[in-house]
Amino acid sequence: MPRRLALSSLLVLLTLSSASAARQAAPDSLIQRIASVGDSSAHEGAAAIVVSDRTEVMVERTGLGHVHRSRLVKILSEEGARDLATLRFDYDPASNLIRLDSIRLIRADGSVMAIDPATAVDLPAPADMIYWGARMKVLSLPRLRVGDAVETRTYKKGYQIAYLQDSEPVGEEDEERYIPPMRGHFYDVVTFRESLPIAEKSYRLQVYRDKPIQFAVYNGELRSSLAFADSFFVYAWEANDVPAYVAEPRSPDDTDVLPKVVLATVESWQEKSRWFHEVNEPVFAADDGIRRMVEQLTKDLRSDDEKMAALLHWVAQEIRYSGLSMGKGEGYTLHPGVMSFEERCGVCKDIAGMLVTMLRAAGFTTYPVMTNAGSRVEAIPADQFNHCVVAVERADGSFTMLDPTWAPFDRSVWSRLEGEQHYVIGSPRGEGLTQIRTFAPQESRLAIDARSRLLADGTLEGTITLEGAGASDSRLRGAIGEAPAANREAFFATVLAPLGPGVEITRAEATQPRDFSRDTRWILGFRVPRYAAATESILAFVPPAVRVAAENGRLTRLLSFTQMDERENEALLWFTQEVIARDLVEMPAGFRVTGEIDSVRVDASAGSVRAETKPSGARLHAEVRAVTAKRTVPPHEWAGAAEAADSLRAFGRRLVWAERGGR
């Protein structure tokens, strides 16, 4: 009965919607609307403009959403005409459906051309690493010209799996498959800005009065309203004249910076937590093979931490990232541990599921965890997750967090790139939204230590040692672990490339990438012919460790900061870091380093540098400390850190002089 009532309401809505559309489609008003947004002169650099983007959603008691969307885009340039020539609508037939209701081309001269939606072809969608049977509807439009506008009207129902958030639904079968897995509940995250300028955008949501939503607007302002309509609440959000969004360097995920509304019918994260626990609990049973492997991996280990680390690293290294569909429940439930163990592949949730299975087999109280790698999870309990990890409950009730997906070639059991990340543990009692702590720069320290000597002809030879912890360990370890076997020698030369393309690697020792018992350490012997400018009596050079720290952006995170005129949004650098580079350079016989102590110091909230070269007779000591202090950098703090980075770059070019017989 409730469903029948809902469908009746939907039909009313559809009728109203159609009638409304018919009125709006009157050529004069439509043409006027298209004309009113102006041409390319009013929107410099934009290939097209969204004249209007209207979404109307009706939510059934089951949580099933019926979504009607009307979008009108005007072409402003030849590039826009090319880019809009093919329309594509992605969907996952397992969980959602889309119907192309109408597609119209409104020519610049006012003529209207209806495109038959049936001309769309329905095909498997492109996919990489996640193969869950996603599909798409694609169709070509007649040749577009500047000034034309394309209107699409679609209907969709179902729900979105977090990984496939960018896709839009299609397919048409039994209703049950489209009902959200957390039955009776609805959520959405709607952004109100995109790469095209928007003249008008609205989102209207109708829910039963006994299923109200909680919502909040982030990253800007939207007009909002709430109205009563029979047995429904009708919420609406609108925005006008929204400029195009152009991502800045190091921009975080769009949802962290674009105006958005986050809404959900779920009352609390605890409710979501309990649901996640219940839906996944059946998959963690171990079989004999898993139990044998757990025994083999942990038999000589004493502490819980050692056992957890051993199991985590085994899962991280042995379960490769490749997502195969298990059919029903794919996307929101974890693959059974026995399945991942046999196939040795999965996406993050399956890899997490493997670790939960093994930890439980080892006697740990363990739960799967929802999280979002790379962007915030807002307080409203809407599904904002794109990643899955693991929590081990300790005897004191605290949790130890483990992420096997981000742990390949990383000594840490929780990647230092995932600091400040929000998460919700799926437990029987229900957990709230929690956040990983901030990691200090020292936890990802990189030490670069060079001992070298100059020859009279300017040749530099010596040894440079790189030792990394945390994120720096991961960088070094991963680089070797993932380098082609045939190219490892060339890879080391690339690390020292700042010393010049003539650098010769005379010796290379590196921690085995799968040895997680210690931080990664590389010892590289090197020789650079004519590294220094040399005459009979003078040598001029830059200390090598200083130069590597000041020029290799893969090693020194601070170098991510570059000068910008003005930054609009925050930047995401993923990890903090401290780099300490030290040099001891010995001069050739008869030469002494000249000049005084040379130093630079710039302290800013997001990044700082301190550097010094110190002559000492026939030796030169140099030290650089470059700190990236924040994972997420507010826009007003960018310039200060960029100044520190520039100072480091400049210091890395500053010459040190030595003279024959000099003082």
């Binding site: 594509r88 095909l123 492109p126 169709l139 490749s322 195969l324 082609p484 076997a485």
Partner: protein
């Protein structure tokens, strides 16, 4: 039994595209024999080892072709698992079917893991997703399961034509790549009395004739060919070229007739040809019109990439390609031809190959690009470039598809010359005045983007003196094969004029020319190579920079001369004084295009010297700066 069930499940999954023909013959040695092979020591030099690579190609009397492949590999490193775990098999769903016979892994403990149906997933190639008409080509992602270091995988599949759609059998089978190959086999069977023409590239192998029309090549072991840059990787791999096409004339006339039929302008194309240039003015002449056609193909039409079947498919009518703003190489060639026809410009299509055609084996599988020869030059449809004789490489060849027949033409020679002379004078306020004369000829000039000459000149000024701006310029000659220009520049300081970002002497190298004259990704950090370097052509460069500082005491330089030569290249760098002025000269030349891996240790120092890294002259600047 388990294996049989799993494979049966696979067959159910792919029933829509599987052919239920008779059981095929075994291909290669039994799996037990391959599992027994030792691969110790390979992990140091390769991420995987191919234990057996077999291809069996059958041409049926009615023209249908079946290609059956068996690949048995051992995965040695984490990298091999990450990068090779999900191979893709492309096939044309409208006229081919795919049958996967075996997809299994033998783990280290002997466990045999067979892929379940969900390990086979059809996806659309991203490179086609913007062109619905061309999306009949799909890819089957075959996920390998149970992977671990040291495991052995076996993949056996067949792609079969469901109807005859190619006029002859014609292909290139590459053997090996980044992984070494212990043994390989190619079988080709053609019905009698058809003749099979064949040739091997980069390997010695003669076929055994096992029966009428049944040829078998056996190869191995073959070394690994790592990707080292400096050469087109595909061009060095061992390969077999084969074809039943009787002649180049047959190949040319077949493709020309199809292209010609598709290259008919309709009213929409006609209307477009009458419209203005993008800037609002009408085309002035045919050169202008041709430039507009190039923009239509390169910037206004999305390229759909459906190789290796591109040339075998039917080109869509030009009107359809124009209408939908997308198309594959064949479609875009037909559109370009139609547009030119509408203007009354008669074009001649050419088929281009990056290397020389294997002349004794006529066939379309050797074709890399289609060009349209027009007055003033050629339009390279694939790359969307226009210029007079723009072969992508010296040694490239063209098959000209003339109305009277086809003709094989050699590509133009690719010698590059670049003469740069600059004089910089320091002024009292520390800023710099300068003059730059540049003459570029041959292939180096063809690499310039003539449509963006201003950017090239700006780069030229900046390469001579960092942050310099052009005060005035004069173009004495600008043609497809030559550029002669003079610039007056102003820079912030002499200290910015030399030595690049490390104040080390680095005489200017011009990026626009480098792109054309040098191979991509040539990495001089390597101390040795396993593969050769191939230059696009011979190079001659002469560079002279005269610095006139106010006070010579600011310059730290060791005058002198350095000469280096080796492996077909030489460089001479000279530093002189002329009163208060310093003069830097560099002459660089190459005398051969291909540098063998063994010669790299001799070749590298010459290039480093050219780059200024080991030059005699060094830094500029005040002490303490």
């Amino acid at each position: 039994m388990m294996r049989g069930m799993e494979v049966a499940a696979c067959a159910i999954l792919i029933a829509a595209f599987a052919w239920s023909g008779p059981s095929a013959e075994p291909l290669g040695p039994p799996i037990e024999d391959l599992r027994a092979l030792r691969t110790d020591g390979f992990a140091e030099v390769a991420d995987a080892v191919v234990l057996y690579s077999g291809v069996a190609i059958t041409l049926e009397p009615d023209g249908r072709i079946t290609r059956r492949v068996r690949l048995v590999r051992r995965f040695l490193t984490d990298r091999s698992i990450a990068y090779l775990g999900d191979p893709r098999i492309a096939y044309d769903t409208s006229r081919q079917e795919l049958e996967i016979e075996v997809n299994r892994t033998f783990m280290l403990d002997g466990t045999e893991v067979n892929a379940k149906p969900h390990a086979f997933n059809e996806v659309a190639p991203e490179r086609l997703a913007s062109c619905p008409d061309r999306m009949k080509v799909q890819e089957m992602v075959v996920s390998l399961v149970g992977l671990e270091r040291g495991c052995l995988t076996e993949l056996l599949y067949a792609v079969r034509d469901t109807l005859p759609w190619r006029p002859w059998l014609d292909g290139i089978e590459t053997v090996g790549g980044e992984a070494p190959v212990l043994s390989a086999e190619i079988r080709i069977e053609v019905p009698q009395p058809q003749a099979l023409r064949h040739a091997t590239l980069h390997m010695q192998a003669e076929p055994e004739l096992l029966g009428p029309g049944l040829f078998v090549w056996k190869m191995g072991p073959l070394p690994a060919f790592p990707r080292e840059g400096g050469i087109d990787h595909a061009s060095i791999l061992p390969a077999l070229v084969y074809s039943t096409c009787p002649s180049w004339d047959d190949a040319g006339s077949w493709i020309r007739s199809r292209l010609s039929a598709a290259a008919s302008p309709d009213s929409a194309i006609a209307s477009w040809t009458e419209a203005s240039m993008l800037g609002g003015r009408p085309p002035i002449d045919d050169r202008d019109r041709i430039r507009r056609a190039v923009l239509l193909l390169s910037e206004r039409t999305i390229a759909a990439e459906d190789s290796p079947w591109t040339l075998w498919g039917e080109p869509r009518p030009a009107a359809r390609t124009f209408e939908t703003s997308c198309g594959n190489l064949l479609d875009r060639a037909a559109l370009g031809w139609a547009v030119l026809r509408q203007w009354g410009i008669e074009a001649v299509p050419l088929l281009a190959r990056r290397e020389a055609f294997v002349r004794e084996v006529p066939g379309l599988s050797q074709v890399d690009d289609i060009w349209l020869r027009v007055p003033f030059g050629d339009i390279a449809v694939g790359s969307g470039r226009f210029g007079e004789a723009i072969p992508p490489d010296e040694g490239a060849e063209l098959l000209l598809l003339g109305p009277q027949g086809s003709q094989l033409l050699s590509g133009a020679p690719r010698t590059s010359t670049c003469r740069l002379k600059a004089r910089l004078r320091e002024k009292e306020d520390g800023s710099v005045d300068g003059q730059v004369a540049l003459r570029v000829g041959g292939a180096a000039c063809r690499g310039l983007d003539a449509s963006d000459l201003k950017r090239f000149l700006d780069d030229l000024a900046a390469s001579v003196c960092r942050a310099a701006e052009i005060a005035s310029y004069q173009i004495n000659r600008l043609g497809p094969d030559s550029l002669d220009c003079l610039l007056s520049i102003q820079g912030p300081s002499l200290g910015e004029s030399i030595g690049g970002d490390r104040r080390r002497l680095a005489l200017p190298t011009l990026s626009g020319i480098e792109r054309s004259a040098w191979p991509a990704n040539l990495d001089l950090n390597r101390q040795k190579r396993a593969t050769p370097i191939r230059l696009p052509g011979l190079i001659f460069e002469e560079t002279e920079l005269r610095l006139e500082p106010l006070s010579a005491s600011r310059v730290l330089i060791a005058p002198g001369e350095t000469n280096r030569q080796g492996a077909g290249a030489s460089v001479a760098v000279q530093v002189d004084r002329d009163g208060e002025a310093w003069i830097f000269r560099r002459i660089f030349r190459t005398t051969r295009r291909e540098i063998e891996a063994a010669d790299y240790p001799e070749f590298k120092p010459v290039l480093l010297e050219r780059a200024g890294v080991r030059s005699a002259a060094i830094y500029l600047g005040r002490r303490g700066q």
